[in-house]
């Protein structure tokens, strides 16, 4: 008698696979842009020609009618200011921390005539540009006798209503005794603001 021995070998292989810990993954979208250095005029005053801002001041009669000499400087300074805020105040804002300011004053000249000794066809004066700035106000001045004044001020223009105001004083002829020649006198004050870092 045959005995058939059968051995059934059952093998179970248990794979205990440890799952990788469930980790969050993060994707990134980078966003960037720039703001350029610039100065922007938001209150222009009443500029003429191609100027971005400015105004016109009519001083009227420059001479003292009894002496023929230039009027008192104080009177001319008052006449200058009487042009009013609409002509003399502006608002410029710059996006940089510093502001580069240049003031160039051109004397009043009657170019139709030549001044003989004892006479004047030129009136010099000082222009003052008052700037409202963050951290304290500043004034940049220029004498029409001098080359332009340039200052890089380490402050920003303030963002209030208007932040630039112009005044003038120290009106004088080359010699105090010069008699004013008749005619029309014209001059100008050129103010330049540029962004600076």
């Amino acid at each position: 008698m045959k005995k058939i021995v059968m051995a059934a070998l059952a093998t179970t292989a248990a794979f205990a696979a440890t799952p990788a810990s469930a980790q969050s993954v993060t994707g990134v979208v980078n966003v960037s842009g720039t703001v350029g250095d610039k100065c922007i005029v938001t209150n222009t005053g009443a500029p003429t020609g191609g100027a971005a801002f400015g105004g016109t001041v009519s001083l009227g009669s420059l001479d003292d009618s009894t002496t023929g000499l230039l009027k008192a400087s104080g009177d001319l300074a008052t006449a200058f200011s009487s042009a009013g805020a609409g002509q003399l105040t502006y608002r410029v804002v710059c996006t940089t921390a510093k502001t580069d300011v240049t003031v160039d004053t051109d004397e009043l000249v009657n170019s139709a005539v030549t001044a003989d000794p004892g006479y004047a066809n030129t009136v010099h004066y000082d222009a003052h540009v008052a700037l409202s700035m963050v951290g304290g106000d500043e004034t940049v001045s220029n004498d029409s006798n001098d080359t332009p004044t340039n200052q890089v001020i380490a402050k920003r223009m303030a963002t209030g209503a208007t932040n630039i105001a112009v005044s003038a004083d120290d009106f004088h002829t080359p010699n105090a005794t010069d008699v004013m020649l008749a005619g029309t006198y014209t001059g100008k004050i050129t103010i330049t603001l540029a962004p600076a870092n």
Binding site: I4, T11, T12, A14, F15, A22, G27, S32, V35, T159
Partner: protein, 184 residues
């Protein structure tokens, strides 16, 4: 006469038993963990000049049209049915300027970022720190579209000059439950 008869009897008697079959088995098992992956994990939106030009009251302020509507597409997948997606929008900050912006100026741009994957949306507003609420994105493979909207500055002031940068972080989180095979 004698005759003998031989009877040959062949007896065939063998009922051989049928061979008894026996089967052995090997069980195999494995797992796939819940997992998410970004195959395109990074994109960049560069918008150039952020402020409005010209003159007048809005000059120098944020040009919202520069950021609003910008979108980029990341690509990823999640292999579990309970995966979630969340978004964190980090504001654009002026990297050149230190300190508090002076009155009338801003150095920060806020916006809302929305990520869309598998027809599910998650979003976040950069004015509030941290990520927004998670959305159930589930099993998916494909695009994760990130779009920007609602950009604004905190005070509506002029933007200080400089470079501005921010990030949108999109996080895919797989289901955290594990599928362990029974112990043998």
């Amino acid at each position: 006469m004698r005759s003998s008869m031989i009877l040959a009897m062949a007896v065939a008697a063998s009922a051989a038993p049928a061979l008894a079959q026996s089967t052995g088995t090997i069980d195999i098992d494995g797992t796939v963990a819940d997992r998410c992956l970004f195959t395109t994990p990074s994109e960049t939106i560069s918008v150039g000049e952020l402020s409005l030009g010209g003159t007048g009251g809005t000059a120098g302020k944020l040009d919202a049209d520069k950021l609003d509507g910008e979108a980029r597409t990341l690509v990823g997948w999640c292999n579990g049915t309970a995966a979630t997606m969340s978004v964190e929008a980090q504001p654009l900050l002026n990297s050149d300027f230190v300190g508090v912006a002076p009155a009338g100026f801003d150095t920060r741009i806020n916006y809302t970022a929305t990520a869309t994957a598998n027809s599910v949306q998650a979003s976040d507003d950069s004015t509030v720190g941290g990520a927004g609420p998670a959305a159930n994105v589930g099993l998916f493979t494909g695009n994760v579209v990130v779009a920007l909207s609602g950009s604004a500055t905190p005070t509506g002031g002029l933007l200080v000059a400089g470079d501005y940068s921010g990030q949108v972080l999109v996080t895919l989180t797989p289901n955290t439950s594990f599928n362990l095979p029974p112990e043998e």
